[in-house]
């Protein structure tokens, strides 16, 4: 099989972005054709199916994880059952460190069989920690990458679900009977911060 690979440098094609992208597409298509040419039709079909399944798995896990973190935005009204189809492994909650989430971006989803590790960049507006018999909350603005594990098995009815706390050992559920704020701060003020941060980023208010 002969493969024509056309490479354009930025100086070619009068510097047109479209032309450069066309060149990249040609290279990618060529590489793909070369890869396909190295395997038999049966292998090609198997490889395509495998890639398709992996892609589908990642898509399912990403979609579930996206729903999980979206539900965890701290300005949402807390309701019984809101994490019902999204979260499992309650025995792995440490429940002594909660972060109030304002925004997130899913960066990566790595799936293998019934397990997945998801990386997300989170924007946090308050840290809540257990202080003996009560919870102490301090407003903040932090952005960092965190990781969660997901599982999909018979116990989750074949659905991808987030398993326990973040790998970095914090939860995102707003919990606590006795939650105390420093003078001049409040849950209402933190929720207003979440709203204004989301508006500034062009995101909808989360309720």
């Amino acid at each position: 099989m002969s493969v024509s690979i056309s490479i354009r440098t930025p100086s070619q094609g009068a510097g047109s972005v479209r032309a450069r992208n066309a060149g990249r597409l040609t290279v990618l298509s060529g590489l793909l054709l070369m890869a396909v040419a190295c395997s038999s039709p049966a292998q090609q079909q198997g490889a395509n199916q495998h890639a398709g399944v992996a892609s589908q798995q990642q898509g399912d896990a990403r979609s579930q994880f996206d729903r999980f973190l979206s539900t965890a935005i701290a300005s949402r009204v807390q309701k019984i059952g809101m994490y019902e189809s999204l979260y499992t492994c309650t025995d792995r909650e440490m429940a002594d460190n909660v972060k109030w989430l304002a925004d997130y971006k899913v960066l990566a989803v790595d799936t293998a069989a019934g397990n997945a590790v998801v990386t997300a960049r989170v924007t946090v507006v308050a840290n809540q920690v257990l202080d003996h018999d009560f919870w102490s909350v301090r407003p903040t603005i932090e952005e960092f990458d965190a990781h969660w594990r997901m599982e999909r098995d018979a116990e989750t009815a074949g659905r991808w679900m987030v398993c326990g706390d973040a790998v970095e050992q914090f939860g995102v559920f707003l919990i606590g009977r006795d939650v105390r704020w420093p003078p001049g701060t409040s849950a209402k003020a933190v929720i207003a911060t979440i709203d204004s941060l989301r508006q500034a980023r062009g995101l909808p208010i989360a309720r």
Binding site: Q78, K79, I80, G81, M82, Y83, E84, T90, D91, R92, E93, M94, A95, D96, N97, N115, L130, R149, G164, D165, V167, Q169, F173, L174, I175, G176, R177, V179
Partner: protein, 209 residues
């Protein structure tokens, strides 16, 4: 630190870093400490079996954290087997080692004091009646903690991914979910990605040498 198998004094066992260079004891308080001095040793294998038996004989528990996490659930009543997983292991230890494991319920530890970012230092753990032991040295009756769950280790694990403990199973009510009261029974505390089982042995009082 001195070997824990031997009887050691409360002063040497519970000395913490922040006590070093701290205020000196007055003569009267030093006399009081001498009068209150007690020695401790690790629970024996036989005592461990008694702890496990106490756990298994305690009957079915109702799992609750008494609304501590902000949900609606029944209050704790340890005498009536209504509590969470660490209440269960406290009661089993207390029942089996009554008279030598003297830690009151007010002094009992939650899982976050055993493992995780906020776990206690060895000396603080000792002051609450426990010392951590390795998987290889763990035996029946030790407390096993993985993540946010605790139970009484049943011993004889040959595979770290399968570590059976007897536990009061369930999940507390939160604003987002109802209480789940699971059965009081075996639970596999084996290692899973990100969560290793940790083992803790009771420190019991012993006559000072």
């Amino acid at each position: 630190m001195q070997p824990l198998d031997e009887g050691i004094t409360v002063a040497s066992y519970f000395a913490t870093d922040d006590q070093v260079g701290g205020p000196h004891l007055s003569e009267s308080s030093a006399e009081l400490l001498c009068a209150m001095q007690a020695c401790y040793r690790e629970a024996t294998a036989g005592e461990g079996l008694q702890v496990l038996a106490a756990a298994k004989n305690s009957g079915e528990w109702i799992y609750t954290q008494g609304g501590y996490q902000g949900g609606q659930e029944v209050p704790k009543d340890i005498n009536s087997n209504v509590g969470d997983c660490t209440d269960f292991v406290w009661k089993a230890s207390r029942t089996a080692l009554l008279g030598t494991w003297v830690h009151s319920y007010a002094n009992h530890l939650a899982t976050g004091s055993f493992v995780g970012k906020n776990k206690l230092s060895p000396s603080s753990l000792g002051a609450h009646g426990f010392v951590e032991v390795s998987y290889e040295n763990a035996r029946a009756g030790d407390i096993v903690v993985r993540g946010g769950h605790a139970g009484v280790y049943e011993g004889n694990s040959t595979d770290p991914s399968h570590v059976m403990g007897y536990a009061n199973n369930g999940a507390p009510a939160t604003p987002q979910r109802d209480n789940h009261d699971g059965l009081t029974k075996d639970f596999d505390f084996g290692s899973v990605p990100g969560y290793e089982p940790h083992f803790f042995r009771q420190l019991v009082e012993t006559p000072c040498p």
